[in-house]
Amino acid sequence: MSKKLNIEELVRIRLDQAEITPSPGAWKGVQRKLRVKRFLRFDPGRFNLYHLSGLVVAGAVAVVLLSRDPAADGSATIRNPSTQPAESGVSSGEPAPGQVSPEADGNQGKGGLKKNRKDVGKIEGNHSEGKHPAGREPYAGEEAGEVTGEQHPEGTKEDARAVPQTLVTYFTASSLSGCAPLQVRFVNTSMNAVSFTWSFGTGETSSEASPHHTFGEPGRYTVTLRASGEDGMSELYSQVVEVFRVPVAGFEIEEGLEGPDGVGSFELMNYSTGAFSFAWDFPGQEKEIWSSNEFQPSLKTGEIPGQADKIRLVATNSQGCTDTAVMQIPVAAGSTARELKFPTAFNANHTGPSGGTYRPNDLRIDIFHPHFTEVPAAYHLQVFSRMGEMVFESRDIYTGWDGYIREQKAAGGVYLWIAEGTWENGSAFNMKGDVTLLWSDRRWP
């Protein structure tokens, strides 16, 4: 509970999975609405408005057809849009289905219509929801119109072999779903077509035979290919491409509190959205060094290898889409994580040599010693007079110079120092500087 959340997290964590019990009549309401919608919506398997109007139209068409040449049935080239290319054999060798229809003359009108309806149903199945609310019929209408109007000029219909040019519209896609942006290569396997128009469901179109298209935004897109034959007749085939939303990975590195052992830490504040699993590591480093799948891990500064200067977060959503965020480990914080700081002056104690030892966390101003954030694995401090004479040397970081040389007060003034050594992680340090030794009576509070 001690963890503080920003306003987004607060709302997300508290409300995202919130459950509210609906009112008792809610289910009844859904059923009622469903019945109304079903009746208004096309569905070949259920009696509805379309069947009703279909029956009326079928009756009318039957009457018209009975008084005409029965072979002029227009349903011949309406293809099932999900026809596989293998079926294209139909087009080369065999006559188109409508032309060899065994159905009796009187039934042909109805049979044709029924087939039409099935086709429409299939097309609809391929459609993304809500894109064409009432727009399913135009396919059938258009097709049927073009077909009946243009396809079989008198004379060819008797000889099935004279119609090998049946248009077959079909394509495959390199992928039908994936993370945004999704690049899809469409391979056009249509036959007997002379021109193509693609619409990608995004408002964009192409007239290439086999185009590439990149879907930048998530969503369901109905990709439609319209192929036109030499006779100007055209046909549609569509497939749905689903582009998944990509999560947004984001985090901030905050300095955590120093533990009792004096080791600092970083809190990795996760601000990712739209993701449910997380993987943290140092980019370019072995996973064994450090990795985590926690939502918001904390990282001890000691765990950070010297070479690592960045933290990486890979956020993944339920569709497997990922986003990566990389943050620089804060420079100031990174360096304080392993740092030695030497004072530029110290005021030695008059009362006599102290030996220069001090306790951790007891910052002494009467002893020359560094402030440090981590105890080095190896440490060597040397202090020189201006004449170049070494006046003090220590290999223990808890032993500094008290300002005495062989129990005698050293002269006040400037001394030079060199500090060398290595940290626990193996990285080395090598520092030098000067320090002014004072013998002042003044004591700081």
């Binding site: 306003i7 919130a18 609906p22 935004e217 959205t273």
Partner: protein
């Protein structure tokens, strides 16, 4: 886990076949969660329930299109959110445009909150009182994780509008939450906010 998945599969199959019992089962399983989603987008619970019902109708009509490549819940949530947005578009035509309500520069610092600082009801209450435009943008960005570019497209607004709506929504929310907190800790000061 396995059993749950099997049951879900069974329900899903039934729904695809249009079985009323399966639809009821799906509704009973998820209605609460979905109402929770809708409630964030609505300005009151009745509206939320209306959206949820519409959403379920869509789900039943289109369940055959669910590919099974993501989770069913995620798919259902998406439909609920879309329905809520459609509802918002519809309502926007009728409702008074309070989206442009001037939010003065907040006198409050951006603040962090403890997870348990507000009850769920308090949070819902505040969110439902947000101006409609703020609420939609805030939900889409902060909870659903859409980008401003995407929100702009969904709501048919400018990307910058989405960004500024969002920052105002955030400020608006922040301010209300601080007020709630203040009124809880010092009930006396509740009324005279001039202090």
């Amino acid at each position: 886990m396995n059993l749950l998945m099997r049951i879900e599969k069974e329900i899903l199959k039934g729904c695809i076949e249009g079985k009323s019992s399966a639809q009821k089962a799906l509704f009973d399983t998820y209605a609460k969660l979905m109402l929770g989603v809708c409630n964030r987008y609505a300005s009151n619970i009745e509206e939320a329930e209306d959206v949820m019902q519409e959403g379920f109708v869509k789900i039943f009509l289109h369940i055959g299109e669910f590919k099974g490549d993501g989770s069913l819940v995620a798919w259902m949530r998406r439909i609920m959110i879309n329905t809520a947005i459609t509802y918002y578009h519809k309502m926007r035509k009728h409702r008074y445009h309070d989206d442009l309500e001037e939010v003065r520069e907040s006198q409050f610092e951006d603040q962090d909150w403890g997870e348990a600082e507000f009850t769920r009801e308090e949070l819902f209450h505040v969110i439902q009182r947000m101006p409609d435009g703020y609420r939609v943008v805030f939900n889409l960005y902060a909870v659903e994780g859409y980008k401003h570019r995407e929100i702009a497209e969904i709501l048919n607004i400018d990307e910058n509008t989405s960004k500024s709506q969002y920052s105002r929504a955030r400020r608006w929310l922040q301010e209300r939450l601080i007020r709630i907190k203040q009124s809880e800790t010092s009930p006396k000061r509740m009324k005279d906010s001039n202090e």
